[in-house]
Symmetry: C2
Subunit: 407 residues, 2 copies
């Protein structure tokens, strides 16, 4: 059975971790910032040194390609992203890119002739410093004018980033690939949660990517003197917000097992010690693996907001659809893990990934490896090296299974 070269993978991973390294032990490689551009240049240099073909598309996605012997064979994409959040960790995204490169080298070194070309791809701006899933959406043809018009990080940051990356906004749409040129997509990624570690599993077979919705709730009460207004004469917007936050948590736990809901912010006005709050603004987000469960959770939580005895304005601010991952790809991953004798577990992904862009146009799947204590998006993000190598071997094994199935 073909295995990756763990030492070569380690050397790449460590070298990559020095680019944009932070004193806290993580990396800061915001999309199309200097450190990120340096990491992408390093990636192409490593691919070229390995004798692979390199490509940059109109969305700035960087690729290493191992062609198939057959002219015009479709491409099986293996990838992730080299950008990070502000003050992030060394594993998120980076592991998937170096493992993809290593998988191509391993196939090339073994002299295997596959019926598909293999492409190791580093997608532009996964984390959302600028838009979020910018490169993978462009490739899938799902990057909308609206996303570019009011991007998460603001127009100014987007334009500056594109310019630094040598990417023309007007040309982004031309990065779209014809689905017939694609044989599938595989992504190795750290879990970013504690599920695998808790279960003692070595490999996660991702069933789908949870959807999330977010709402801004504004409770309206009456601002009043905190001394002279008796407890039974108050319309306390802060109390309504607090009761809602508690009820939303408790209801999610009791009636929506396996879903999550978060009140990330509560802002009270006027926000003084001696004034009963007259307004309360609440940031609510919730996630579920399927649309039906998202709908049920939304109905329940918004009913709780409306049951707090004060008028409440409800504004929808985000809606990320759940995404199911391909059954055939999941089977290939599970089979690869089993062949390697690894304990695998099915689980949904609770965070967004480039795989959700790709799933719209080609059979796609994800492999998770355990995150220590579930920590991610922080310098303390860590995955045992053995788990990283296991993940890379499952990526390779699953890729070979999908490639052979294409015959």
């Amino acid at each position: 059975m073909l295995h990756v070269d763990g030492e070569r993978l380690r050397a790449d991973f460590d070298a990559l971790g020095t680019i944009g390294a932070t004193s806290a032990g993580g990396v800061d490689r915001r999309a199309l910032g200097r450190a990120h551009l340096a990491a992408r240049a390093w990636f192409l240099e490593r691919a070229g040194a390995a004798g692979l073909k390199t490509e940059i598309d109109a969305a700035g996605n960087h690729s290493a390609v191992l062609p198939a012997p057959t002219e015009g064979a479709p491409r099986l994409l293996l990838g992730s992203h080299l950008d990070s959040v502000v003050d992030g960790g060394r594993y998120d995204g980076a592991l998937g890119v170096v493992a993809a490169l290593e998988a191509l080298r391993s196939v090339r070194d073994a002299g295997l002739a596959l019926p598909v070309a293999l492409e190791a791809i580093d997608f532009t701006d996964e984390e959302g410093t600028l838009v979020g899933l910018l490169g993978s959406r462009a490739l899938a043809g799902t990057l909308s004018a609206e996303m570019l018009a009011s991007p998460r990080g603001g127009r100014e940051a987007l334009l500056a980033g594109l310019e630094r990356g040598g990417i023309a906004e007007s040309g982004l749409a031309t990065a779209e690939r014809d689905p017939r040129t694609l044989a599938g997509y595989l992504e190795l990624h750290i879990e970013q949660g504690p599920v695998l570690e808790r279960a003692g599993a070595q490999i996660g077979v991702v069933t789908g990517i949870a959807g999330s919705r977010s709402f801004r709730l504004c409770f309206g009460g009456d601002a009043a003197h905190a001394g002279t207004t008796p407890m039974d004469g108050r319309r306390d917007a802060g109390l309504a917000a607090a009761r809602f936050a508690v009820a939303a948590h408790d209801r999610t736990v009791s009636a929506h097992s396996g879903c999550v809901a978060t009140v990330g912010s509560i802002e009270l006005e006027p926000g003084l010690f001696n004034v009963v709050p007259g307004r309360a603004r609440v940031a609510l987000e919730f996630r579920a693996p399927e649309t039906a469960r998202l709908d049920a959770l939304e109905a329940d939580l918004l009913a709780l907001a409306r049951a707090q005895g004060l008028p409440v304005e409800v504004e929808a601010v985000g809606d990320w659809k759940p995404c199911a991952l391909d059954e055939g790809v999941r089977t290939a991953i599970a089979d690869a893990a089993e062949a390697l004798g690894l304990r695998a577990k099915e689980l949904p992904s609770w965070a967004g990934h480039d795989a959700e862009s790709l799933a719209a146009v080609t059979p796609s799947g994800m492999i998770f490896v355990p995150s220590r204590a579930g920590v991610s998006h922080a310098p303390g993000e860590h995955t045992a090296w053995e788990d990283c190598v296991n993940g890379a071997n499952v990526l390779l094994g699953a890729a070979l299974r999908l490639a052979q199935a294409h015959r």
Copy 2:
């Protein structure tokens, strides 16, 4: 029985309400700002026009004096303040000052020879734009160096205000009066709460001024990804703060009847939709009419804060002692109301007043009149004019009773 001249009182009240008038129907006369200085000048002008002696002390307190026939007779002070909060109402403070002036004019017009001098006094900076109770504390000798060193409104605002008012900081302490020169203090004020209106009472006999304490509580949890962190793996500081706010309210209502507790602010960090809050800062204030009840409330609320399952830092930020008002003065007020055939009700004051400064050095009391719907510190602050005149007559009647008792 001597009565005030309601029409003269009305003319003064209406004229005063034009000084610093806001488009919303209230006034904005922040301490030692232009409108406040204009109101004080107007007050001295009115006093002078009535043939009363006028005085300004070293703390900027403005007074009109009706001397006693006897040289060296002590002074019975009647007063309140002409400053307002930002965007305040026309009654808070102002009613007490014009009623005091009217009481002096009524005694002078009646040609009564009293064993005490009467002084109508407008105290500097009651509301706390600069320090809070600045003038009355200076008069009582309780203005500390610490209050001046870190004033509520900041040093810069204090120094600028004192300069505009022609007050030397170094001379403030010389405003202190020898208690032997004082025969007592009476203050007419709007209730600023709904108790009298609810009870159908016309006059409030204030038993004392509630004490208040305030604390900043900081709950420490773990900031975490709002998608990948399961509900049972969270240490959500925002949830702990919300549970505390609900518990503090419910416990105060169920176990501390007649007291009030307020969570005026909740600040969550990082305060984003997609991050479980790692820190929560809560502004807690509570009030009770007596120290023993304040102590019990504090013990209960801080125990609730510590029972939320996360570490909590507790920082005391304010401590205003409860103040009992003089029994003899309360009797004089109640008797005056009874003689006028008015329905009176005893109640504590839930807001601070200059009377608490004076109570430390001379027998002091307060008369409340009903506030419509309990609204105050807002343009909609309103007291029926009949209630205002009733209050002024009780002020006059109580003053005469206290004066006669001095014989």
